[in-house]
Symmetry: C2
Subunit: 250 residues, 2 copies
């Protein structure tokens, strides 16, 4: 068994992809908390795992240890996932809520860095790359979409101003960086966009490090997972839950 | 296998409890969508099932087929559930949202009856008995609480007025009938109450027939399930998912 938790280049998913490939080639089960390999190379890695007759798990890559992939695996038998909607990036939540209290984008980014959720180069979050990587990872696993983050139509919050956020607040509205995916006869449509939402929208109710994913299914309607204010322990728990799940399947 | 879906007396859980007891006595697996037996007699029925060496499943009793009991069973290994918070009654959501648009409680109840979610005697919903039954069922299964709906501190929305709801709206607040449970050294604390919430609260974002349950866990923090605008098909799906789960375990 290999548990792959190395730091990686988010633009390529390396060296995590090579680590995982090497482990699968040795017929070792693999658990990773890195979304890069799932966003860039899921189909090939899943095929390697099947050929080797081993398990490849990655619950922590989206929403930490909250059940996403394992929910679909265990709790939605016979359901086809037709699309999803999610608020999956914490830094933009923190920045938008900071703007609602009159602060600037930069001050919001500093707050996100202080609480340890934003990268030193926050543009990865602000321009929607982090959300695009999660969107691609979900689409690759849930729809066999065979996409990368570059295939996600992406528009971040970089040009959003406190004035605009406060103007929306007056109208009972707010902004969230929303990931949307939909399976269509012409392929998978994927996008990440700063969307204007009513404050009463469940997507607007996601604050701070919380996140929410709604799955659009054929049999079970719209059903989802929510995670409130997780920390690093909840990422570790996702790895642990994969470990237990593999042990049960042996 | 017996699938128990009969109409029942919510105050006693009968005749569903007797049906289930009779099936378990014949060593048949049982699936029910009736919350009465889980709210009134879970510990005894679960013991009967264990003795008979059969499965007893009830995913649809809370939040239809959205993963609640099966999420805890399959996706939260090693987690201890320390409490929960939920918005689990649809009729009160509809009534409160009606009041926010200036209508009366009775007009809200009529709307809930028209869309088919309220009983002919809506007081079961309005006075919080439905939410109390779901709260007791969750506590019985998740904490082995051995309670009935009568053990849930209960205060419904019967005395709520449109004036009060509109006054709260002016302040950016709203009301939800919230179920809360907490395991303490002195036993399980359970309550159902109309709570004043900020509009930005995730509990306030539950509208119509949607529902939300947040579990407070030791290892995975606060994690939950959300279901958006389900209908009767989603109740049926919960029975189906239990059926598949039992078949897998055989």
């Amino acid at each position: 068994m290999v548990v792959e938790l190395t730091t990686l280049n988010p633009a390529s998913g390396e060296p995590a992809i090579s680590h995982i490939r090497a482990a699968l080639a040795r017929s070792l089960h693999v658990i990773t908390a890195n979304k890069g390999p799932i966003a860039h190379a899921y189909a090939a890695l899943a095929q390697d795992a099947r050929r080797a007759g081993v398990e490849f798990r990655f619950e922590s890559t989206v929403m930490d240890g909250a059940p996403v992939f394992n929910m679909v695996r265990h709790n939605l038998p016979g359901c086809k996932i037709r699309g999803f909607t999610g608020v999956l990036n914490s830094t933009t939540n923190v920045v938008i809520d900071a703007m609602r209290s009159g602060r600037t984008l930069d001050e919001g980014v500093e707050e996100a860095q202080r609480i340890g959720i934003a990268e030193a180069d926050a543009s990865f979050d602000i321009e929607g790359w982090d959300a695009a990587a999660k969107t691609a990872a979900l689409a690759n696993v849930l729809f066999d979409a065979r996409v990368t983050p570059l295939d996600v139509g992406r528009r971040g919050i970089g040009r959003l101003t406190p004035e605009r956020v406060l103007e929306l607040k007056e109208q009972g509205k707010t902004i969230r960086l929303v990931s949307r995916a939909r399976v269509t006869p012409n392929g998978t449509k994927l996008r990440v966009r700063a969307e204007v939402l009513d404050e009463s929208d469940v997507l607007a109710a996601v604050h701070g490090t919380s996140s929410l994913l709604l799955l659009d299914t054929d049999l079970m309607g719209t059903v989802g997972t929510v995670e409130i204010n997780p920390g690093v322990h909840q990422t570790a728990y996702g790895v642990f839950s994969d470990l237990v799940d593999i042990a049960k399947a042996l």
